[in-house]
């Protein structure tokens, strides 16, 4: 052994590099209860607690506002109204100035925050809240989009996509079908509810610990509300207990109120609404009413489509513009339309302002595409899978979307073919037909549906990210980036990428809380882009440092740069190998900068919204799923017997995490399309505001057999980080196969001659109603 031979020599591979099944970075802390969420932080002495007072009518002017009993209640320290907002009483994320923090003179939905009580304890604040006496002059309220007039108010400008002359194509088509579909909304039900904890500082400063996917936006909102520059506001989040889009803009309300109160009273203030208030006062997935017309030929080839996507946006725009845009971007799913027209109607309603939710309008868009496939199939008496395959995008032709982007990376056909084989579709189709012929009450259904999901924020400027990497003199690494951790494993993946760059074990890389003080002007951790953007930025930061180290080592040891090679745990310089930490020590002594800010912006993308043309997406993610269900046609109750999934994640950075996203996304999507039903009454009151009435999937709802596979041949056609693909949202839409399997089972009642037009969520009631309709129509 030479003197320089290090301990680490011989190690073939680092622990936790890319393409390893590294555990979630906080797994140990989660299982031992040591992971700290915001509500777990030690509260400084003097911490106060806030509770929101919510409106009790859906629309109207406030005519009487008596808060004297609230102020007099035990423990109450202050009551805030719109007048107490020192800066701008607005938290509209798009600058439309339509979303007051606290209602100012009028309310526009049942549950709108009108005032906030700040008290010594959370319970005192909650009790005092109930003592407010508010009178309203009620005005007519629009709750449901089905009741909207033709000229109804929109919350933001609609979008139109147009390619070819769809009206002419439909008119000339041998067959046409026109119909309407209703698709329900969804509550996020992140298990950790919304929370903000504000600590006042000197000058105008405030630090807010906020459970948010978008710290930079919270920073801007708090700064506007306080009337201070952004530099006075620091937002920090180590982890969320789930987000799913529900903490992209919806955290703003809680953070601004906590910050205003903290600055006003010069005491720490925490705001954690209870679950009912959280569900009542925060936005959800948009429900849609989709009108469609499809023209097609005798073989089931689609010739032209026309879609109108009307969405219940609530009283303010929030993200409804981009959400309804993304619905249109996915009205094609994996299918080529020779002529297409699609328009959005982002409708104003007197309900909570709906917001981002995993898929961001994409799922609602795709459900429309799959409905027309069903229509064509039933009209011609074909298996819907045959119609699906017939209308897929091509690779060299038939590959332009309704928004004029060419699909360059199409693998839908291969994914479908492999899944069709592995799920044994054809044989099961025959078995099910035989089973149904003999089974009068229980009917089985089968469906295989594909997914193609566009990756990138459609607002081009959001597609940028920053990261900060420090290497300390002992060789340990501090990693910070603009993305937030909500359970999806982003921090783990980004740490894997940095470990890989330096060729050090992942436990040498410390992942730190996201804070606006370290990486500024970040985008939301959303649009599935967390790893694509932040992983690249972190890789850039690490490479900058690495390049400095290479230049230094080459010069110091008088070897060419290409003879400085990072090996697992060590660096080979010429014919000498030294531990990574030793090189760092030498570099420090030679005054080499060991810190770097990394940056990334997605190339190639552009989008002209006025024209409805461009390349909004860098690439697409693909997958397919096949479900088999059994339906009790006397009660509408059903079971998901088996689900097979094949999904492609490019070259997966972490298969275990990706498979977890697929399983979790699928089940969440299944909840959306089956059991999760939001019900507003005529007064605009949400009646499903707790898990007792709002049914998210339980362990027992999961398919009896559940086979999930990653396409191991996949790699991203674009040079993304290690050629991986985004995985946060796309699997959500795999759950469409459950809706269509239910539709298939229902259709069997009438011999598959009538399209069941099963709307979502396909609750047992809706399934039963569809069965009854089939019986009636089938008998005709």
């Amino acid at each position: 052994m030479t003197r320089h031979e290090p301990r680490t020599q011989g190690k073939a591979k680092i622990d936790g590099g890319v393409a390893s099944d590294e555990k979630h970075d906080s797994a140990r802390k989660h299982v031992s209860g040591e992971a700290i969420y915001i509500d777990d932080m030690a509260e400084p002495a003097g911490t106060l607690h806030a509770c929101l007072g919510l409106s009790e009518v859906a629309h109207g002017a406030i005519t009487g506002f008596d808060l004297s009993d609230v102020r007099a209640a035990p423990g109450v320290v202050a009551v805030l109204t719109a007048n107490d907002v020192p800066g701008d009483n607005d938290m509209s994320p798009t600058g439309l100035h339509d979303e007051p923090i606290l209602a100012d003179g009028r309310v526009q939905f049942f549950g709108q925050p009108v005032f906030a009580v700040i008290a010594e304890t959370r319970e005192a604040a909650r009790r005092a809240c109930r003592l407010a006496k508010i009178d309203y002059a009620e005005e007519p309220a629009l709750i449901d989009v089905a009741d909207a007039a033709d000229d109804a108010k929109l919350v933001t400008a609609p979008l139109k996509l147009e390619r070819g002359d769809s009206a002419a194509a439909i008119a000339a088509a041998p067959h046409t079908v026109r119909g309407q579909m209703r698709v329900g909304g969804q509550d996020h039900f992140y298990l950790e509810g919304q929370i903000a904890f504000a600590l006042p500082g000197e000058d105008g400063d405030v630090t807010v610990f906020s459970s948010t996917q978008h710290p930079s936006e919270v920073q801007h909102m708090v700064a506007h509300a306080l009337g201070v520059p952004s530099h006075a506001v620091t937002i920090e989040v180590r982890r969320m207990g789930g987000g799913f889009g529900g903490k992209e803009t919806q955290a703003n309300l809680f953070a601004t109120i906590a910050a205003i109160a903290a600055k006003k009273l010069n005491r720490p203030v925490k705001l954690r609404p209870d679950r009912d208030d959280d569900m009542t006062a925060t936005g959800k997935r948009h429900d849609f009413l989709i009108d469609y017309t499809v023209g097609f030929d005798d073989e089931g080839g689609i010739l032209g489509v026309d879609f109108t996507y009307a969405a219940r946006c609530g009283y303010a725009a929030d993200l409804s513009g981009p959400v309804t845009d993304r619905a249109l971007f996915h009205c094609d799913n994996t299918y080529f339309y020779p002529a297409a027209r699609a328009v959005s109607r982002p409708l104003y309603t007197n309900t909570v302002s709906n917001t981002a939710f995993r898929g961001f309008g994409g799922p609602q868009g795709m459900v429309g595409a799959e409905r027309i496939i069903d229509e064509v199939a039933f009209a011609l008496g074909r298996d819907p899978l045959e119609i699906r395959k017939k209308n897929l995008y091509g690779t060299d032709d038939r590959n332009v979307t309704p928004y004029h982007q060419t699909v360059e990376d199409n693998v839908a056909e291969r994914v479908i073919a492999e899944l069709e084989a592995s799920a044994d579709y054809a044989a099961r189709r025959r078995e099910i037909a035989a089973f149904n012929a003999k089974s009068p009450v229980i009917k089985r259904g089968l469906a295989l549906t594909p997914v193609k999901f566009g990756i990138s924020f459609t607002a081009t400027h959001f597609n940028q990210a920053g990261a900060l990497v420090h290497v300390y003199t002992d060789g340990s690494v501090h990693l910070n980036h603009g993305g937030t951790e909500m359970g999806q494993g982003l921090h783990t993946k980004v740490a894997q990428i940095v470990a890989e760059e330096f060729q050090i074990d992942i436990d040498q890389v410390k992942i730190t809380a996201t804070t606006t003080g370290k990486v500024p002007n970040t985008s939301a951790t959303a649009a599935s882009s967390g790893t694509d953007l932040n992983g690249m930025a972190a890789q850039d930061a690490a490479r900058q440092i690495k390049n400095r180290l290479i230049a230094f080592a080459a010069e110091a040891h008088d070897v060419p740069k290409d003879q400085v090679v990072f090996l697992p745990g060590r660096v080979r310089i010429g014919n000498r190998e030294i531990p990574f930490a030793e090189l760092i020590g030498e570099a420090y002594m030679a005054r080499i900068q060991l810190s770097a800010a990394g940056f990334y912006k997605t190339p190639k993308i552009h989008w002209d919204r006025d024209k409805g043309q461009g390349r909004p997406f860098y690439y697409f993610a693909y997958g397919a799923a096949c479900a088999e269900v059994s339906v009790d046609t006397l009660t509408g109750e059903y079971m998901v017997e088996r689900v097979d999934i094949l999904h492609e994640t490019g070259r997966s950075l972490n298969r275990a995490i990706d498979i977890g996203q697929i399983e979790g996304g699928f089940i969440q999507g299944m909840g959306w399309l089956t059991t999760e039903e939001l019900v507003w009454d005529g007064k605009g009151r949400l009646r499903t505001h707790a898990p007792s009435t709002y049914k998210i999937p339980l362990a027992s709802d999961r398919p009896k057999a559940f086979n999930v596979a990653l396409a191991d041949w996949a790699e991203n056609a674009e040079p993304t980080v290690h050629r991986s693909k985004a995985v946060g949202e796309p699997p959500f839409m795999l759950a469409m196969c459950v809706l269509h399997a239910l539709s298939d089972a229902v259709a069997s009642v009438a011999g598959h001659t009538v399209c069941p037009r099963l709307d979502a969520p396909a609750t047992p009631e809706r399934v039963l109603m569809a069965v009854e309709r089939m019986k009636a129509e089938g008998a005709r």
Binding site: L191, G241, P691
Partner: protein, 159 residues
Amino acid sequence: MTEVSMTVNGKAARASVPDNTLLVDFLREHLRLTGTHVGCDTSQCGACVVHVNGRAVKSCTTLAASAEGAEVTTIEGLANGELHPMQAAFKENHGLQCGFCTPGMIMSATDMVARYQAAGKELTEEAIRHELEGNICRCTGYHNIVRAIQDGAAKMAAG
């Protein structure tokens, strides 16, 4: 105010608290045992499950006073130097994403395994799914949670 005293994770705990203090608040605020989470406040999500005298209970709807004299175990008390086999199984099987449901899941899991073992019944996959009816997870789709419980149960049986 009420005097409450109980044994929490093997240590005596005593405090004078308002009569309506919930067990979860006693644990989180008085004892700073914040591994027990609050997800719904209304006995439906299971994030707050702890053991009281060896049985799983939802601490968000249990009064601290009703645990007077009891032996309480929280997620923090489960590990004994090294992780409890069920904790290790959740970690090894990727039985978590955001982790918020995890402590409650593990406390429910150890309780169900103990009950089935005591009754000499087999804890089948179907039984696990049924037993988890009071524990909601919004992230994982339950697949890895169920796998973790099967694995943890096997490890617990092995001693």
